[in-house]
């Protein structure tokens, strides 16, 4: 009888304390919007995510603000992409005096060398392959568990369900690509961000600029691309949400290639846009590829 009473009291205390626990969310930082979306999906209600580079922003040339440094100082865990995407991040972490646990989401991803013949740096856009996105999610899950062991069960369950969605997405991507004739799987884009996508799904992406959005194109590069489009009969050129589109329009006019719709590579769109989450982004991109390349 007495044992039962104690058990009941314990249960009551648990019930009382659990909402209190839920209110005290784990503060996490993600450096850019796509990573933020992953952390949101794995963390669920237990985690409050702050994204430093917001929708449609360019992480390559981002300048951090004091508000970012403050958010970083309060954070318990920080997620970065790695592979050289956030050059400014290490300095920001140091200057904010943050004691947060720092997790590199791309660790154990096999890095691609950049497609540019001069560059020997790793290509940072690893999330463009869904298989890599699954590695990101696993790393994020482990990072959240390390920062907040009490939430282990929740994070594992969330990650498992999100990984399931990513598997479905992977199948969707492969199915869509399979419908495009093999000799038409060639595309020109403004910034060389689709290397991992191309390697994973058998598409060829050619860019008029190097890997970073900062470099300026030379007449030689542009002439090479125009010749290539003419010679290999590349059917479509695409604009991205962050690059100067005038150059691509010029190339399209000169070659007669079709200008495809808007692709999202480095940043998600805002809530109203076509790519507010990672899964929406990938769906948007394969839809645009299919439309431009099929006929």
């Amino acid at each position: 009888m007495r044992k039962n009473l104690i058990a009941a009291m314990l249960a009551f205390i648990c019930v009382l304390s659990s909402p209190a626990l839920a209110q005290e969310k784990i503060r996490a930082i993600a450096t850019f919007s796509i990573l933020g979306d992953f952390v949101k999906n794995v963390g669920g209600d237990r985690v409050a995510v702050t994204t430093l580079v917001g929708p449609n922003g360019d992480a390559h040339v981002y300048a951090p603000t004091p508000a970012d440094a403050r958010a970083l100082a309060d954070a318990k865990v920080v997620f970065v992409n790695g592979l050289g995407l956030e050059g400014w991040m290490t300095r920001l972490v140091k200057s904010s005096g943050s004691k947060a646990l720092s997790i590199v989401a791309s660790s154990s991803v096999k890095p691609r060398r950049s497609a540019d013949e001069h560059g020997h740096d790793a290509d940072p856009h690893a999330w463009q392959s869904v298989a890599n996105a699954k590695i990101y999610v696993a790393n994020i899950r482990d990072g959240l568990i390390a920062a907040d062991p009490a939430g282990k069960a929740v994070y594992e369950a969330n990650a498992a369900s999100y990984l399931g969605k990513l598997d479905a997405l992977e199948a969707e991507v492969r199915e869509a690509i399979a419908k495009i004739p093999a000799d038409r799987r060639r595309i020109i884009t403004t910034h060389d961000a689709f290397g991992y996508f191309g390697a994973a799904y058998g598409m060829e992406f050619i860019a008029p600029q190097g890997v970073s959005t900062e470099s300026e194109a030379s007449a030689k590069d542009v002439a090479r691309i125009i010749n290539q489009i003419r010679k290999q009969k590349i059917p479509a050129v695409f604009l991205e949400n962050i690059s100067d589109e005038r150059l691509i329009q010029r190339i399209a006019v000169e070659t007669g290639a079709r200008i495809g719709g808007k692709l999202f590579s480095d940043a998600l769109s805002d809530e109203k846009g076509p790519a507010p989450t990672y899964i929406d982004m990938m769906r948007n991109n394969i839809r645009e590829f299919s439309i431009a390349l099929q006929s």
């Binding site: 981002y62 300048a63 300026e216 194109a217 030379s218 007449a219 002439a223 005038r246 010029r250």
Partner: protein, 289 residues
């Protein structure tokens, strides 16, 4: 072989022909402006202007998003306001032109950064607004040609007072009241040339083709009219040679053009007949009657 290197790129590719027309139009308008700026010791105004137009571009962005027309118009208006304010302050107070321009462009830059951050975005507006010589469309070419024509026409109208203003402003003030209006009209031309150059070609090319050929001309001529002719020719030659250089070697086009202009400048510095280094070291015999 020579044809392959020097002419074939322009025959084969339309973007190369457009680039060539673009730099030539810029050289025609910006050459004389650069010479006058140099003579008035305002050679650095171009760089200041590249920052001063930010608030206008930002307001254009707030009103109609990422639209080149809105942002260029806003930038042009901001440039006019800054140039006019700086010019008026320099005319009416003790502060010199360069100092007042520095103050106004810094304030303007601060306002611009503030406006951009209000929108909560970190898109680099100027990076978006500033174009590339390899990507000139019909509108941009027309804009550049129109600004070159306007520049030549207005310069022809105000040429005499402007030249006197450059060499002896005190004299002009004593014989005419045209000094201040001519100065302000000239500043307006500067802004038109720079802003149309920025959005077509980017800052480096727009400012570079304005100032470097002017300095080249200074080493070959003592009179203003031949100096202008040499500056325009120097700008065109640099533009053509720079494009060929960029096509053959893969150096980005803007830097290639300015590097070539830099080589011409170094040659002029050494061999120029009007104050070049060799002439100074080994002066010719005085001509005697």
């Amino acid at each position: 072989m020579l044809y392959e290197t020097l002419i074939a790129p322009f025959v084969e590719f339309e973007f190369m022909r457009r680039a060539l027309v673009g730099v030539c139009a810029l050289a025609v308008g910006a050459g004389p402006i650069g010479v006058f700026l140099m003579l008035r010791r305002m050679s650095l105004v171009g760089d200041a202007m590249a920052h001063a137009i930010l608030p206008g571009a930002a307001i254009g962005f707030l009103v109609s998003g990422l639209s080149l027309v809105a942002m260029s118009t806003g930038g042009m208006i901001a440039g006019f306001v800054i140039a006019l304010l700086a010019g008026l302050v320099a005319r009416t107070t003790e502060l010199k032109e360069d100092a007042s321009l520095a103050v106004f462009f810094l304030i303007s830059l601060a306002i611009g950064v503030t406006i951009v951050s209000l929108r909560g975005t970190n898109i680099d507006l100027l990076h978006f607004l500033f174009g590339s010589v390899l990507a000139l469309d019909d509108h941009t070419l027309l804009l550049m040609a129109a600004s070159a024509v306007l520049t030549l026409f207005v310069l022809a109208l105000i040429y005499r007072p402007l030249v006197i203003e450059c060499v002896d402003p005190g004299y002009l003030r004593s014989v005419s009241r045209l000094g201040t209006p001519v100065h302000l009209i000239f500043l307006a031309l500067v802004v038109i040339n720079l802003v149309s150059g920025f959005q077509a070609l980017g800052t480096l090319l727009a400012v570079g083709i304005m100032m470097v050929p002017a300095a080249i001309g200074r080493f070959w001529a003592r009179d203003i009219t031949p100096m202008i002719a040499i500056a325009v020719a120097g700008g065109m030659i640099s533009g053509y040679a720079g494009l060929v250089l960029s096509y053959q070697t893969g150096i980005p086009s803007g830097p290639a053009v300015i590097l070539f202009a830099g080589i011409l400048y170094a040659l002029s510095l050494a061999f120029g007949t009007a104050g070049g280094l060799l002439r100074k070291l080994f002066p010719g015999r005085h001509l005697e009657a």
